[in-house]
Amino acid sequence: MTTASIRTENLTIRFGGHAAVDRVSCAFRPGELTVIVGPNGAGKTTWFNLVSGQLKPTEGRIFKGEADITSLSPSARAKAGIGRAFQLTNLFPKLTVLENVRLAVQARAGQGPRIFSRAAALTEIRDRAQSFVEATRLSSVAHLPAAALPHGDQRKLEVAMLAAMEPDVFMFDEPTAGMSVDEAPAILELIAGIKKDTGKTILLVEHKMDVVRALADRIVVLHNGTLIADGRPAEVMALPIVRDIYLGIGAEDVA
């Protein structure tokens, strides 16, 4: 069994007296797609924010490989190979699609501070950005500002930016949120493609049960901030406690 690419140890964050994430310890391996499920308010997005650095934990540690990254800033974690897409679309609205993706490529290449070269002339970076735009089938809108895209394409752009960061750990927070039934499969296809092509660790927060079934190698269940189940999809879905909690929200989300 390969070593974990990302691991949390007793990860806890309290807001006042309320523990939004409570002593969560788990590890994720390369090549494995894990779906994190749980009712609203279970702490899924909060746990994501702790791992990608937007929040600092009250207690516990986070490891990327062997390195302790608990005290690193979000930008340092991005450089360390932890890439994150956001639940609410979180783009650079007035920049074009290509510029959005190019920024991610450029951050990865570490060429941000070059002052006296023309950005558009850095063909290597530009071509790379272009290839991610093509892979997400956004070529026809590459020159439009991100804000002008329909919601479904904005979600695709989120995926393109995350892919362009070329992280070791991909974190998707509800990538199909707000998408219509016919738009969602395109995103899931992209994620499946990333899994196949890169063999990296993929973490996915998702409500929709069909998504969970189609993609998951493993399911982690959070409830009230604690980890209550972790295992293969069939095993986890069969657990009585999961059926209790999850069917409740499953009923409203799947329906």
């Binding site: 800033s73 979180n90 920049l95 190019r102 070059r114 950005a119």
Partner: protein, 370 residues
């Protein structure tokens, strides 16, 4: 609305209008640039030279402010402070060391250095706080600088400021090219003397600084700055250290403002709180960048030209208007030159109403920023 933008046919129409607007902006900027480049020959009178030189320096000053407010979304009120540091640096050295290029270089370098140090301090200490607090910090720093300039009168000349001489090649008595009669050669009726050299020193320096800024915004750094303006949290999340980038651009803008200050001092042969440090200047900068259009750099050229021409010539135009309508009722009173501020205000309101993103910003279809 989101769908409208990608409907076939809609795109070309929008982009064609945008292209026309962009072309118009380029044409206007080019016209202003050419007028400035040949100003000594096109407008030889002394007042016009004054206006042209002021436009040159303020284009640099306002464009450097646009790097902050338009490109990165940093609101600072300390831009006159950096402008003043350059101006006072050059002025004090010219006064102490006598009129020489070494004094301009040495004093200017000290002024720029002081600007860098202050910019780094302010940047690192306060660019991580919210925008409004940062604006307050810069306001405080600028006030301190104003108090210092007026209190340290032994060095700065206090409220009165200081006059000094500039290097001899800039003197009107110094011919650039001597004709057969031993006097300065004339070109298009304009004597090629130190006055022309003086102007071109300001013009060429300003032009080069503007080119540097054009390069910065077209560089990868420029895109990162815009990303920070658009979505700071996401910029951090994809791996950019936002505080470091903000501090860097704050320093770059401060250095360019200080260099503009040197040019201002050398041109005026005078430096005082009223011409480089006062909040009136800061307000002018803000108005120029808003009227021209934030986040375009070209907007700085247009905004500065419009504002400066209005400030210098609106009175004359009104006087002419009042004289022409002397026989009519009411109109001469409305056009009385004493009421020029009223008309200036009206012009601003109309400009902001019809060009919500500034003249260049609206024409180029950039939309309003923040």
């Amino acid at each position: 609305m989101a769908n409208a933008a990608i409907l076939p046919g809609a795109v070309p129409a929008v982009s064609r209008r945008r292209q026309a607007g962009r072309f118009l902006v380029y044409a206007v900027v080019l016209a202003i640039g050419l007028a400035l480049a040949f100003a000594p020959f096109l407008f030889p009178d002394v007042r016009a030279q004054e206006v042209a030189a002021r436009i040159c320096v303020f284009v640099v000053l306002v464009a450097s402010y646009d790097l902050l407010i338009g490109y990165t979304g940093i609101v600072s009120f300390a831009h006159t402070m950096f402008f003043g540091l350059g101006a006072y640096g050059a002025a004090i050295a010219l006064k102490a060391m006598g009129p020489g290029f070494d004094a301009i270089f040495f004093g200017g370098a000290l002024g720029v250095l002081a600007a860098i140090v202050l910019a780094v301090l302010i940047g690192l200490l306060s660019l991580r706080v919210k925008a409004i607090f940062f604006a307050m910090v810069t306001l405080a720093a600028a006030s301190v600088m104003m108090v210092l300039a007026s209190q340290l009168s032994a060095i700065t000349g206090g409220e009165d400021g200081m006059t000094f001489s500039v290097p001899r090649p800039f003197s009107p008595a110094q011919p650039l090219v001597t004709g057969e009669d031993g006097k300065a050669l004339r070109l298009f009726g304009v004597a090629l003397n130190g006055r022309v050299a003086h102007y071109y020193f300001v013009f060429v320096s300003s032009f080069l600084l503007f080119l540097v800024m054009m390069r910065i915004v077209a560089s990868p750094l420029g895109t990162v700055l815009q990303a920070i303006r658009e979505n700071e949290m996401r910029a951090e999340a994809i791996g950019y250290r936002v505080v470091a980038y903000r501090t860097a651009i704050f320093c770059i803008a401060a250095v360019i403002a200080a260099l503009a200050g040197i040019l201002r001092a050398v041109w005026l042969k005078y430096t005082g709180p009223d011409v480089v440090l006062s909040f009136d200047i800061m307000l002018d900068i803000l108005l120029m960048v808003v009227i021209g259009g934030m986040g375009t750099l070209y907007g700085a050229v247009i905004g500065v030209a419009v504002m400066t021409l209005a400030q210098y010539y609106l009175k004359d135009v009104m006087a002419a208007g009042a004289a022409a309508t002397a026989d009519l009722p009411l109109l001469p009173d409305l056009l009385n030159p004493d009421r020029w501020l009223f008309w200036l205000g009206l012009v601003f309101i109309l400009l902001v109403y019809f060009f919500p993103a500034g003249i260049a910003g609206t024409l180029m279809g950039k939309g309003g920023h923040k």
